[in-house]
């Protein structure tokens, strides 16, 4: 027996993954300790001051539907919110908010402080204590040991972080905080496959020094909007962003100083994300482009710092100043923080189960950038999954694994653990094969039930969800029975909307499928007042209008679900399956898919291998790997 303090769950890190992980396990009733190097940096946004966007915004709503916190906090702390892709179909619409960075952190910190089962503590973890390949606790850099049943590592870019700026390279976490090196050494010593990734951030400038007259205003939407399905207070007092462009002169300065850029001097060893290129990269790779967009984004209401989106760079500080001075509006800009590139260690994510537990060490979970992703939202989604599953493991519950047809979070986790990633991974809508089903408007309908099952959804919220889904269903059914006659009122409304007149009576349901019709116009024809909430009749409308396409997607999902039901024993000995192709066998041994559907997504595993595997499992006598 020791007299160490003991927790069910210890979370290392308090970034966007860490906070969701800690909250989820605490809310599942487990005693949770969250450690972070600096308590003032909880839920810090080291890069862009925004949350959401295509795919990512949908993840924020999914986190919310599963009882997470990101949506609620950004709803309270944003300075601007916009609905994107409004001119396109419902599947790709998404919210994006500009955050008040400091306010966001304060708000998230308060939520953590209020959480009964959660202790937050300033401290750096140097070692995870492991016995028999099982987690036992952690030791901090000042030698304190905390016993723990499970540990969740959410170290972001701190893990052996190194900042690179011009010809300078030094050990550092993001925003010049302390990096985490001993822990990185330990993970390496444990035999984890580690890769080196890189990301970067642009300079910040003082708002007073910007000549906004030379830029274009980018206002937020003035309709009330929110990420969380529970939010009722909307922020309507919004701050604009501003758009400007690089010039030929900017590009000239970059080209002239390319030898000084860390990216091109060979100093950077890590792989950077293609979707987040530095301005050096953009100029070199797309040298025919005369200019690149620069968005000027305020970092908050109580600061004059402005984030120069589009100018991510690792050039020396003085070159960054010269670059800024060539951008219209920024001629006299006073730089407050220089941009920089940062390299960090991350795990090859095929070493992780879909529950986000590592395959090598029992009860050790990882989430966020350590798993090879980038982005606050991707981190939050994983954090929630890791937190739920660390707790579920101790509670003897099945792990929460979201399928690719249920959530973007499911797509994200499956991509990581099944295919791995060769660069920092960002979610894109094109990664989701069922994106018509994974809409931002139906995140609650998709996931509230699951959140409830894992104890993360309150009674009140669950009741509201049940009412909403019942209303939607009842209305869908009703419209299939209501007939619209070709009377004068109907014809004139249809004509007004540019449609062709009715020849015969038609079901309201079918009339709504016409491109020119919507729910409101159908109610108008019927002479009925709208009693459903907008979020309800919006669902009715989308589900009716896109019925054919939704059914097509569902048919594909059905096929996949059948394959998901065919489980593969975790300890199957692939060497005993003689007919497998060598490459397939190697990949299967590494990824250890849980079911046939996951196996079929591994690159290098072809349909014949899947057939062979099916037959092998079916014959019943599966040879197991000896423990």
């Amino acid at each position: 027996m020791t007299d160490n303090m003991k927790y069910d769950v210890v979370v290392i890190g308090a970034g966007h993954a860490g906070v969701e992980a800690g909250l989820a396990s605490a809310r599942k009733g487990l005693s949770t300790l969250m450690l972070t190097i600096n308590l003032d940096n909880i839920a810090f946004m080291p890069c862009n001051p925004s949350v959401g966007g295509p795919a990512k915004g949908i993840v924020v709503r999914e986190v919310d539907a599963l009882g997470g916190e990101m949506a609620k906090v950004i709803d309270k702390t944003h300075i601007q919110m916009r609905m994107l892709n409004t001119g396109k179909g419902p599947a790709v619409r998404a919210l994006r908010a500009q955050a008040d960075k400091v306010f966001y952190q304060q708000e998230m910190k308060r939520v953590l402080e209020d959480e009964p089962n959660l202790d937050i503590l300033q401290g750096m973890v140097d070692e995870i204590i492991i016995e028999d390949e099982t987690v036992k606790g952690i030791r901090t850099n000042i030698g304190t040991i905390y016993d723990a049943e499970t540990v969740i590592v959410t170290t972001g870019t701190f893990l052996r972080g190194e900042i690179i700026l011009g010809d300078l390279k030094y050990s550092s976490g993001p925003n010049h905080q302390m990096p985490s090196v001993p822990l990185a050494d330990q993970l390496k010593d444990l035999g984890f496959d580690i890769v080196r990734f890189k990301t970067g951030t642009p300079p910040r400038v003082n708002s007073d020094s910007i000549d906004y007259d030379k830029t274009e205003i980018q206002p937020g939407d003035d309709t009330p909007m929110a990420f969380s399905f529970e939010t009722t207070d909307f922020i309507l007092d919004q701050l604009p962003c501003w758009l400007t462009y690089t010039t030929e002169n900017t590009h000239m300065i970059i080209n002239d100083n390319l030898h000084l850029s860390a990216m091109y001097s060979g100093m950077v060893k890590g792989t950077g994300p293609r979707y987040c290129p530095s301005i050096e990269d953009k100029v070199v790779r797309f040298d025919d482009k005369p200019r690149h967009q620069i968005f000027l984004e305020p970092e908050g209401r109580n600061t004059k710092e402005v984030y120069v989106q589009g100018l991510s760079t690792s050039m020396p500080e003085n070159v960054q100043r010269q670059m800024l001075s060539t951008v219209p509006g920024l001629e006299n800009a006073r730089m407050m923080r220089a941009g920089y590139a940062i390299e960090y260690d991350s795990l090859v994510p095929t070493q992780i189960w879909p529950s986000l537990e590592t395959k090598k060490i029992k009860n050790l979970f990882t989430a966020g950038q350590i798993n090879g992703t980038s982005g606050y939202e991707e981190a939050a989604g994983q954090g929630l999954i890791a937190g739920v599953n660390a707790a579920a493991k101790l509670l003897g519950e099945e792990p929460m694994i979201l399928s690719r047809s249920e959530a973007y979070i499911g797509v994200l986790v499956d991509d990581l653990v099944t295919k791995g990633t060769s660069e920092p991974y960002r979610l894109l809508t094109s990664r989701a094969e069922y994106r018509l089903l994974l809409r931002h408007d139906n995140a609650d309908l998709r996931l509230t039930e699951k959140g409830r099952e894992y104890g993360l959804i309150s009674d009140e919220r669950y009741d509201a969800y049940n009412v909403k889904s019942a209303n939607i269903e009842a209305e869908m059914n009703r419209l299939q029975t209501v007939r619209i006659k070709p009377n004068e009122r109907a014809q004139s409304i249809i004509e007004q909307r540019g449609g062709t007149q009715l020849k015969d009576g038609i079901l309201a349901y079918d009339l709504m499928k016409r491109p020119e019709m919507n729910y409101e116009s159908i109610m108008e024809i019927l002479g009925e007042d709208i009693v459903l909430a907008q979020s309800e009749f919006e669902q009715v409308e989308i589900q009716i209008k896109y019925d054919g396409y939704i059914k097509k997607s569902l048919a594909q999902v059905d096929k996949m679900n059948r394959m998901e039901k065919k489980k593969i024993p975790a300890d199957i000995d692939y060497d005993a399956v003689h007919s497998l192709a060598t490459e397939a066998r190697d990949r299967l041994k590494k990824v250890k898919p849980l079911d046939i559907a996951q196996a079929s997504r591994i690159s290098g595993v072809n349909p014949a291998d899947i057939s062979i595997l099916l037959v092998y499992i079916e014959q019943g006598n599966v040879k197991r790997v000896e423990a």
């Binding site: 994300p273 589009g310 094109s430 491109p515 396409y549 997607s553 007919s579 057939s611 099916l614 014959q619």
Partner: protein, 459 residues
């Protein structure tokens, strides 16, 4: 357990006396009944009976084949599923059509070894035989992929790759609008843009299907020899064929201008011009005709373009060679029409009635269009047989192409109904994936790669 219905030709490829198309699965009877006309529908006949009737193409009401259809209802069948075996008599072409009809009406092309796999999964084959089943699937797959690989070399692959690339460009443009809505370099993709692009893709797939409708997707090109006396215009013809757009650069190692083969495209028909170096180097193939190699080339060719001089009477040498190739496909080209006529063309036509005559002045580009048409006619009416078309895997390809065409036409329907671009995209992605399946490409990351290589995106 009854699974989705699969179909394939279950007899060895080639001109056997009969050939069997086998359907197995939950809809086997239903699919067969859509095509079969007999005294009773196949769903009504007793199990384990063989029934006389006809296969009709429902879209044209045309009778495709006279058949005997064996009906075996589950569970006492090889796969323990409903099975229909359609016995055909009409040779490779007809059997292929019957197979295509089953695929078009709801069946899926069977994977290699799939009937056996089903027999096992449905408990028909004993557990102790599992190992054998697995090896069987492996060997069938290896065999099939060997055949597919052979077939996919060369032109068809290049063609489909470029078709896929154009679909990919459309997809990337839509995706960049979706994932980077603020990115202003790319014009917002509209449904009318998509409609135009989709139409082009549909036409190309249509074209491919047309060329394959006779089972004649050519992978290597018709092996073709240009023959004639010195200075009769062989080099000019060769140069005409390979001028700018007609030249096809192959990726086969060593296939360069100074080797023995040139690939050209004549009215959509690939020709592999053999022994072209001979033409270039010596311009004297007639003198070299005694050389065994050239005789071999003539004998093995699928098409011979024989050049004669309008300005000269037929020589004994010409006649000797023409007699020796009388049973091959030969087009007689009477060149140098711009010079005085000294060749007795009527006599030539009566002497070699099987050989079409085309009159040209190649240097003036006169008559060359007619020559191209003649080649196309001979090809499409089946007079020229290519030795390198194999039918089995073609069916898989054709079936995938049919599905791809369906997907792209679904996309067009949606575009016409003014459905949002991201939803039209669903069918375009499917088109692209199906085309990828034809050439066996891994599709997972390509779209995203395209996105980031084509556009300059990011914060």
């Amino acid at each position: 357990m009854q699974l989705e219905t699969i179909s394939s030709i279950s007899t060895p490829v080639g001109e056997g006396a009969i050939a069997i198309v086998r359907l197995s699965g939950i809809d086997a009877l239903e699919i067969a009944d859509k095509l079969y006309k007999g005294n009773k529908s196949l769903s009504e006949v007793d199990t384990h009976t063989i029934n006389y009737g006809h296969i009709i193409d429902p879209s044209t009401a045309e009778t495709v084949e006279e058949v005997m259809a064996a009906v075996m209802k589950a569970p006492k069948t090889y796969t323990r599923e409903d099975i229909v075996e359609i016995n055909c008599h009409g040779g490779v072409h007809t059997v292929n059509r019957v197979l295509q009809l089953t695929l078009k009406h709801g069946a899926r092309m069977a994977e290699p070894g799939e009937f056996t796999k089903r027999a096992f999964l449905n408990g028909r084959i004993d557990l102790s035989q599992a190992e054998g089943v697995m090896d069987f699937i492996r060997s069938k797959t290896t065999e099939a992929s060997k055949v597919a690989n052979q077939q996919m070399q060369g032109r068809l692959k290049t063609y489909i790759e470029s078709l896929r690339q154009s679909v990919l460009n459309i997809l990337a443009q839509v995706e960049v609008n979706i994932d980077y809505p603020e990115y202003d370099d790319v014009e917002e993709t509209t449904t009318s843009f998509l409609l135009d692009e989709a139409k082009k893709v549909e036409q190309e797939i249509e074209q491919l299907l047309k060329s394959s409708s006779e089972g004649k997707i050519l992978r290597e090109g018709l092996s073709t020899v240009i023959v004639g006396k010195p200075n009769v215009g062989k080099s000019s013809l060769l140069n005409y064929f390979i001028q700018d757009d007609k030249a096809i650069v192959t990726e086969v190692a060593g296939t360069t201008r100074d080797t023995l083969e040139e690939y050209v495209n004549v009215n959509g028909i690939p020709l592999k011009l053999v022994d072209t170096a001979g033409i270039r180097d010596t311009d004297d193939i007639v003198e070299k005709i005694g050389v065994e190699r050239s005789r071999e080339a003539l004998k093995n060719s699928e098409l011979i373009l024989y050049l004669l001089n309008n300005n000269e009477a037929l020589t004994a040498e010409d006649m000797e060679i023409l007699d020796s190739i009388a049973d091959q496909k030969v087009i007689l080209i009477v060149n140098k029409l711009d010079l005085d006529n000294r060749l007795d063309i009527a006599d030539l036509e009566s002497r070699y009635p099987g050989m079409p005559v085309v009159k040209t002045s190649i240097v003036n580009s006169t008559g060359v269009d007619e020559l191209e048409e003649k080649i196309a006619d001979l090809f499409f009416d089946g007079s020229i047989q290519s030795t390198d078309s194999t039918y089995v895997s073609n069916n898989r390809h054709i079936s995938l192409l049919e599905q791809a065409k369906q997907a792209v036409s679904d996309a067009m329907d949606s575009a016409e109904m003014d459905i949002p671009v991201d939803i039209i995209q669903i069918d375009l992605v499917k088109t692209w994936e199906l085309l990828g399946e034809v050439i066996g490409e891994d599709v997972s990351e390509q779209l995203i790669d395209q996105l980031f290589s084509q556009f300059c995106l990011g914060k």
